[in-house]
Amino acid sequence: MHAWINRQSLLVDYTLSALARHAGRNLAILAVYSCLVFVLASTMLFSDALRRESRALLSHSPDVLIQKLSAGRHAFLTAADVERIGPLRGVSRIEGRRWGYFYDPAVRANYTLMAVASDPPARGSIRVGEGVARLSGLAKGNALALRSPEGPLHVFTIEGVFREESSLVSTDLVLMHPEDWIEFFQVASDLCTDAAVTVVNPAEVRNVARKVAERLPGSRVVLKEEILRTYDSLFDWREGLLLALASLLAASFAVLAWNKASGLAADERREIGILKAIGWDTRDVLTMKLWEGALVSGCAFGTGLLAAWIHVFHFRAPLVAPVLAGWSVLYPRFDLTPSLDPWMLLTLSFLTIFPYTLATLVPAWKAAITDPDAVMRGSE
């Protein structure tokens, strides 16, 4: 074992000096290879972070959401509808929620206006998300004027601005008193947008949803786990699509690596010829070439991954975010929690190191079987 380790360390030592002798060419390959790892790793790190954020976020959402449909479109629930749903065994709470969208032409963005029943803002006051405050250039204590869909102008005092940490859910949010909400949208006081149901036992959520659907036929019952599944599928699909496209880059890179490894310079050929003439056998040369690939791969993998980490967690992934996270005028500013999944690293190595090593194997073997006599005479 000791002899084997000693032999490998000598081979690595020789390989490093051989790489240094052709630094220019190897650095070019290293740069392209690192860029490839960077693109793939950025996509994976950002998608994983988004998935984690969405799960953390949705863990606080209601177990079941009930929306009434009319002619296939979302309609208001009445107080009578909410009464028909409850009481249900296993349900700890049913709450009718009032919320709606409002397009503010002044900033050309949509706000979500929501009435809060518990601890609401004072009449005529609102609490706004960080995005709303940023876009309208207002702060706590300022007045925000909104023209209601029915015509009259409503002026609200900003009572508070949500912190940036909650931006993912609150960026476009305007919280107001229920009476203000009813007045603003001119909606009857017994109507609500949807109903949120909290179920005590998570295993009973599907049974509760079935009973709700029976009591309120024609309504849409949305489960938290379905929303989670949809987000997971969405992020997976976007990530997979981007990775599939980037894999074409990986294939092109593999061809480039093959070409680079095939086109050995005359001095490299002579070097291998001399090595074989002084006693190296084909396996030694092949091992040395594989070490060369492993060292280049290791450096590129480390550099690309580190760059991707900085890109995603320090700069919020400007290069991949528009594709993976979508965009809007009122896009939330949020910090991603840094995390490195070992399965992601394994997948990344499968998609980068594995094809590169395979692509350089045949050229390495061709170099290794070079006849020393022919090389040194210059006929190869």
């Binding site: 599944r229 699509l241 394994l346 997948t347 499968f350």
Partner: protein, 338 residues
């Protein structure tokens, strides 16, 4: 089909494995027919040169199969969130009829490739390459396995339909489920625990003897072939209950999840490594020529058998220790006042 990063990586690995073994087939057949190290003919020289490439390439392709198996299980577990009714890898694997066959083929490919890698390592260490024919024979046998593994993975991943309502591990091990799963789950704990520990301890004893003597790999292989299904059955019948501290939860996959500290990977890891070492020792014993063996081979085979015996011994002892600790440390008590 679910476009997932793990799916792309797995298809790349198994596709390369299948293509690689298939591409090496003509060379492997030529070696089986014409390999003659004493000959200095041009065709023998070509075979020797190609043999270096094929051996290195195959070693690379086959080395990937072990992490690919891990990734396959992790991917199936991770995809459970996409399917209604799935709680772990079992739900994902049951989404279509190709899930479990893909997993089983991949496990077979894992053992097959490890046997090849052991033969290749011993062969490469001898100056007369005495196992070249044998390892190329194993390579030919691996071709349909690798192709089946790739084909089943494609069929499984392309047939993943998010609208399918699958079933969770609870239903697989319930009384109205498939016979094998239900039989395993309903094995009396008082009977399953002694069988499990006796069989694994016996396998460890055989491994110790093999490691000490440097021969008897075939016996170790036989012990490994018996201990592997007993180990898996033990996980389903009683070990899972102690891990989850729930007398009705028999799932062999849920304890791969982070909430159980990824304990499943440790359990399966040591059992798979021990089994792989045992069957590789058997293959080495069966495929090494006994007559006219070179001095290199006479030295290398006992040394490799000893190493494999030690690996198997460590694996079986760790399995016994970890399982025993799990039973004793668990909050669930199934054996009276024990």
């Amino acid at each position: 089909m679910i476009l997932d990063k793990s799916v792309l990586a797995l298809l790349l690995a198994s596709g390369a494995g299948a293509a690689g073994t298939l591409a090496a087939a003509p060379h492997a057949l030529a070696v089986l027919r014409r390999w003659d190290l004493s000959s200095g003919s041009a065709s023998q020289l070509r075979l020797e040169r190609m043999s270096t490439l094929v051996s290195t390439g195959m070693a690379l392709l086959l080395l990937v199969q072990a992490p690919a198996l891990l990734l396959f299980v992790a991917a199936a577990d991770g995809m459970a969130s996409h399917f209604v009714g799935a709680m772990c890898a079992i739900g994902s694997l049951k989404v279509n009829p190709f899930g479990f066959p893909a997993l089983i083929t991949q496990i077979a490919a894992f053992f097959g490739t490890l046997i090849w890698l052991v033969l290749n390592a011993v062969d490469g260490g001898c100056r007369d390459y005495p196992l070249t024919r044998a390892k190329h024979g194993v390579l030919v046998a691996l071709i349909p396995l690798m192709a089946a593994s790739f084909g089943l993975e494609i069929a499984y991943f392309s047939g993943l339909d998010a609208s399918v309502i699958t079933s969770c591990c609870g239903s697989l091990f319930s009384s109205d489920s498939s016979k094998v799963a239900n039989d395993l789950a309903s094995l009396p704990v008082r009977m399953a625990i002694p069988i499990y520990f006796v069989v694994l301890a016996t396998a460890a004893a055989v491994a110790a003897v093999t490691a000490w003597r440097g021969r008897g790999g075939i016996w170790l292989g036989l012990a490994g072939v018996v201990a592997f299904p007993v180990g898996l059955a033990g996980i389903v019948s009683f070990l899972s209950l102690y891990v989850y501290e729930d007398p009705l939860h028999h799932c062999p996959f849920c304890f791969l999840k982070p909430e159980y500290g990824y304990r499943g990977y440790a359990f399966y890891g040591i059992l798979f490594v021990a089994t792989a070492a045992a069957v590789s020792a058997a293959a080495l014993g069966l495929l090494s020529p006994r007559e006219n063996a070179s001095r290199d081979l006479q030295e290398r085979v006992p040394r490799a058998t000893r190493t494999l015996g030690l690996v198997a011994l460590a694996g079986y002892l760790s399995t016994v220790a970890v399982s025993g600790w799990q039973v004793l440390a668990s909050g669930l008590k199934l054996l009276g006042d024990a």
